[in-house]
Amino acid sequence: MNILMYVFLAVGAVFNGLGAVALHRFPDVYTRLHGATKCTTFGSIFSILAVVVYGAARGGSVGTSMVIRAVLALVFLLLTNPTGSHALARAAHRAGIKPFRAVVDRLEEVGK
């Protein structure tokens, strides 16, 4: 159980770290959103899974409520994270920020 937990934590930390690196490496707001919101989502899924494993191993009402709340946190993360990054990206585009080196920009063409 402990080993599984550490593996989940390590994978989570690696992907969260990649998200931070992406913030520095990518050139504009849209590509940074890719790295910062999604690598961190994937990383956080594994961090939460580690909590689930810990709660399940602990058992009892404390452990069970830990598992339930961690899973709910995961559900809300999966619901709100894409909604939030979509809102950020859309607001950026409406504010007139052009995607860096874009091959094509269909949204600009329809003028929304």
Binding site: L18, R25, S61, L72, S85, H93, A102, V104
Partner: protein, 204 residues
Amino acid sequence: MVRPGPCQSNLPWNRGLWGLICLDELKSVYWAPVRRVAELAATFALVFVVYLILTAFSGEIGLWSREELIGGAVVSILVALASFRLLWERGGWRLLNPLRWVMFLVYLVGPFLLAMAKANLDVAYRVITGRINPGIVRFNPGLKTDAGRTLLANSITLTPGTLTLDVDDETGDFYVHWINVRQVDPKPEDVCGVFPHWVKVVAE
């Protein structure tokens, strides 16, 4: 007076109450007042259930304390009043069918998780090498309901490499920022693989 029309779809999960009534009938003017109340009650029930799950193991009445039950009911009524008109527009009722929940879980742990893992590795590679070819593309997956569009938009956003910027309410066109544009005018399958097919099964 508008009479309830014939059922649009023969798929078993487009019929409510386990196949007894046609969900499309609930759309008609005939049912408007009943529908309002039902919408409010269903929203309240959903919010309250989530609150109860969140606060399980807090006391003695069942698994909950009296304070949590009262507080949860008040919060749920407020949230339901604020959001019930938005929640069930354009096909929200279909989501109450348990068959769809099963399909949603299958979708979540199967193709979605696989695509997400693959795409994460792809973006990790791009983070390290800096090889990107970004652009905003447009495609139309042909989804009609709000729930279907939301599900697909969120799936696209959650898989790295693609980010939904906008969805046209009338035409259902998706505008997606794609980190590695392969076609300037892609088909839905080029951008998000099997997602549209699954979303139609789950939400439409």
